[in-house]
């Protein structure tokens, strides 16, 4: 672990990366840029995970989100848009009410954050680092084995479901897109 | 026979699953399956009757398991004399009702599946000893009833079904409020009815009063007591015969069962305070009001429905008296009314099946056309009138005897209804069954074997209980005496007494 100053600096940097990426996602008019900003944000989050001693999750984050979800998203973007009109298809509506709602929510969250009685370890108890990968493995095959198995079923059905949903139907008239 | 109550409750549910797997067209097989799945509970009920320990008021055949531990909800089943009587009635009426539904042609599969669900719900209600479980069964029962009336009913079935549903739902909501109140009042929170009863001494008078009122209105709708009764005639008129039988035979009893199971042992102080107006006076009013309304009806089923209102008034009056005779008479009356009204509805159903209407002035002289039918019918009618030697006499005499001790004035008013009852029953008897033969129905066939099979057991029970009422009285006496004593001996919890009376 680095000294306090360094860790603060790292935190600030990663937060900026995360939130900046987020800002890019929401404000970019071009959906491809949005997708790329999303990637930046994900990477920032992964960095935060590392700072929080959750290196396994950080790895998963990079692999699944950056490698999987994002690529998927980009595929979808490509499949649903003619290349030439990519730019116009990422319009926003009702920015002001949305902003108001989001800010209201943010304020609410801040307020909750201030007053919530977080369940923290007692004063003076030192934080113990633990081998996160091993613990997660034990937890997944121990206490959480049932949700773990259920998750596998969920994934299987997602697999099947996605195939069924995106399967091209022969009789579909609009299928002849230049995807 | 461990877990007998669980079996009794869930065998019909299994039957429902089986029926759902059967092809839609196999109507005969579906009917037989439905019948087949109501017979084991009946046999188990007989076994229960034989093996029930009549000397203790403790719950018997208890089963207990954790269900939702985080809310301390348990699966508790058990019976005492009060509930075992009602279970007997349910188990008896269900096969009979399946037989009475033999002529249903529309949506046979759905009908019998729902019916078995209803059966499971009803049995569950009487077995459950966890308030939450009770509530679940209570609601489980409501839904099939709604569909059974709403789909297989008469002309205004949807109106009747919705009315039934809304009324009952309103009752359920109040009951749920009371349930939660009891749950949170107890520390640790619990739905265990035995614990709720044991802690009855700690509930303050105010708490008891409000909880009592919520529960009472919930149950009064089911009974149905006076201002909440109007769903009943409509539901009865529109419901198919078998459903009317279940409605009058079992569902109405749940109201009074609930009062005896919850209000009495859990809220004894409030019971003491409320019994006169909410039970005794209202019950007496029910008796007279129902009888007078019945007298003016032109539809046979409606007449029987109003007579139910009248007869259930005896139950309310009897339990309110808090005498041993009154409370025993009340529960005996619940059982007797279950069998007698079931007979009456079945009998009305028999002519309705043949003539497709139920207008009292639309018949005449059926006695000449259908002698066997008329013979059974006379038994049912005179039983409903409380003729000595038939079952209802015993219960009515016990109720009125108790009522006299409680308040002679109420007893006199209530007893005067025997004249009114004789009036409307005989009047209907005369117009439908006696007199010159109505040519239109001169060739109506007499009851067939199936109808005799469903009517004869009830007729036999009506006669046997008139001569040997202790078949039921022995079952209920110990438990009811205990419940009665709980109420009579209840004193306010110490905390609510004024400080100066404390040592």
């Amino acid at each position: 672990m680095q000294g306090p100053d360094l860790s603060v600096a790292a935190f600030l940097l990663l937060s900026a990366l995360t939130l900046g990426g987020g800002g890019g996602v929401i404000f970019s008019g071009n959906i491809v840029y949005s997708a790329l900003s999303l990637m930046v944000s994900f990477l920032g989050v992964a960095g935060l995970y590392v700072m929080l001693e959750a290196d396994f999750v950080a790895g998963v984050q990079v692999l699944v989100y950056v490698g999987g979800v994002l690529v998927l998203t980009l595929f979808a973007v490509m499949l649903t848009h003619r290349i030439e009109d990519i730019k116009v298809s990422n319009r926003d509506v009702g920015k002001l009410p949305g902003l108001a709602a989001a800010l209201a929510m943010f304020a609410g969250l801040i307020a909750a954050l201030e007053v919530a009685p977080w369940k923290l370890p007692a004063e003076g108890v030192a934080h113990e680092a633990f081998a996160s990968t091993q613990s997660i493995g034990n937890a997944l095959l121990g206490r959480y084995v049932l949700p773990f198995e259920v998750a596998s079923i969920v994934l299987l059905s997602v697999l099947v479901g996605a195939v069924v949903l995106s399967r091209k139907e022969v009789a579909e008239p609009r299928v002849s897109d230049d995807a | 026979m461990d877990h007998i109550l669980t079996y009794m409750t869930f065998i019909p549910l299994a039957g429902m699953a089986v029926i759902l797997c059967m092809p839609r067209g196999a109507t005969k097989a579906i009917r037989l399956t439905a019948l087949g799945f109501t017979i084991p509970p009946l046999l188990m009920a007989v076994w229960l009757f034989a093996n029930f320990d009549r000397t203790t008021e403790a719950m018997q055949f208890m089963e207990r398991a954790q269900w939702i531990p985080s809310f301390n909800i348990q699966y508790i089943m058990g019976v005492d004399g009060l509930s075992v009587t009602m279970i007997l009635l349910t188990a008896l009426l269900c096969p009979i009702c399946i037989l009475a539904s033999w002529n249903i042609e529309k949506g046979v599969k759905g009908y019998f599946a729902l019916f078995l669900l209803l059966d499971a719900g009803m049995t569950g209600v009487f077995c459950a000893l966890d308030f939450f479980l009770f509530y679940i069964f209570w609601e489980v029962m409501l839904l099939p009833m709604y569909f059974l009336i709403g789909i297989w009913g008469g002309e205004r079935r949807e109106y009747a079904a919705i009315k039934f549903f809304l009324y009952t739902l309103a009752g359920s909501v109040l009951m749920m409020i009371a349930m939660l109140a009891l749950y949170f009042y107890n520390e640790p929170h619990t739905f265990d009815m035995l614990v709720l009863m044991d802690n009855a001494g700690t509930y303050s008078r105010t708490f008891q009063t409000w909880t009592w009122l919520a529960l009472f209105i919930g149950f009064a709708i089911k009974i149905p007591a006076f201002p909440f009764h109007t769903w009943l005639p409509d539901a009865h008129v529109e419901a198919p015969t078998a459903i009317s039988v279940i409605l009058a035979g079992v569902l109405l009893k749940m109201g009074t069962y609930g009062i005896l199971r919850f209000c009495y042992p859990m809220l004894p102080l409030a019971t003491q305070d409320m019994a006169f107006w909410a039970l005794a006076a209202l019950g007496t009013w029910n008796i007279v009001y129902g009888a007078l309304c019945a007298m003016a009806q032109t539809d046979m089923k409606k007449l029987v429905a109003y007579s139910s209102i009248s007869h259930m008034g005896y139950v309310m009056l009897g339990m309110a008296t808090m005498t041993v005779q009154g409370i025993n008479g009340a529960v005996l009356q619940m059982f007797n009314h279950g069998t007698i009204t079931a007979m009456l509805f079945l009998l009305v159903g028999v002519v309705y099946d043949r003539a497709h209407h139920r207008r009292i002035d639309g018949f005449g002289g059926l006695a000449s056309v259908m002698p066997v039918y008329t013979g059974i019918m006379v038994i049912a009618f005179f039983a409903a009138m409380g003729l000595p030697g038939l079952s209802a006499f015993i219960s009515e005499v016990l109720v009125l005897l108790g009522a006299w001790q409680y308040s002679p004035a109420l007893a006199i008013v209530a007893a005067s209804a025997v004249v009114l009852t004789a009036g409307y029953m005989l009047w209907m008897l005369q117009r439908v069954w006696l007199g010159p033969v109505n040519e239109e129905y001169a060739s109506m066939p007499d009851v067939n074997a199936r109808e005799i099979v469903m009517l004869a057991p009830l007729a036999v029970i009506v006669i046997v209980l008139g001569v040997y009422p202790h078949a039921v009285l022995d079952l209920i006496n110990t438990s009811l005496t205990a419940i009665n004593n709980t109420v009579l001996s209840a004193v306010p919890p110490l905390a609510s007494l004024p400080l100066d009376v404390l040592p």
Binding site: L19, Y49, V60, V69, A151 | -
Partner: protein, 104 residues
């Protein structure tokens, strides 16, 4: 050892990220854009989980939960995008403001 960084800091980042995702979901008309917003929201939740796991008393549980969240996010993305494709094939557009067949 007093730490310079506390739970609150990370939660603050999470909250901000959450609100961005929320704003995205609220304002985008493009279905894919909305899905991206959802991903942001889920990430915000994950940040919280991991932060709780580090600073709170739950131990490894938070991390396990975040794994599940990631799993669900992946599943959601796959299905969501497949649906988007389906809708696109059916209506030629993925503008959510035109998808109102659920109107009561």
């Amino acid at each position: 050892m007093p730490e310079a960084l506390g739970l609150q800091h990370f939660l603050l980042v999470g909250a901000a990220l959450f609100c961005m995702g929320l704003y995205c979901v609220l304002t985008r008309r493009n279905a894919i854009g909305i899905l991206m917003g959802v991903e942001l929201v889920l990430n915000a939740a994950n940040v919280n989980y991991i932060a709780f796991s580090r600073y709170g008393v739950g131990g490894v549980d938070g991390q396990v939960f975040s794994i599940f969240v990631i799993m669900l996010a992946a599943a959601e993305a796959a299905i969501g995008l497949a649906i988007v494709l389906g809708i696109y094939r059916r209506s030629g557009s993925i503008d959510v403001s035109q998808m109102t067949s659920l109107r009561g």
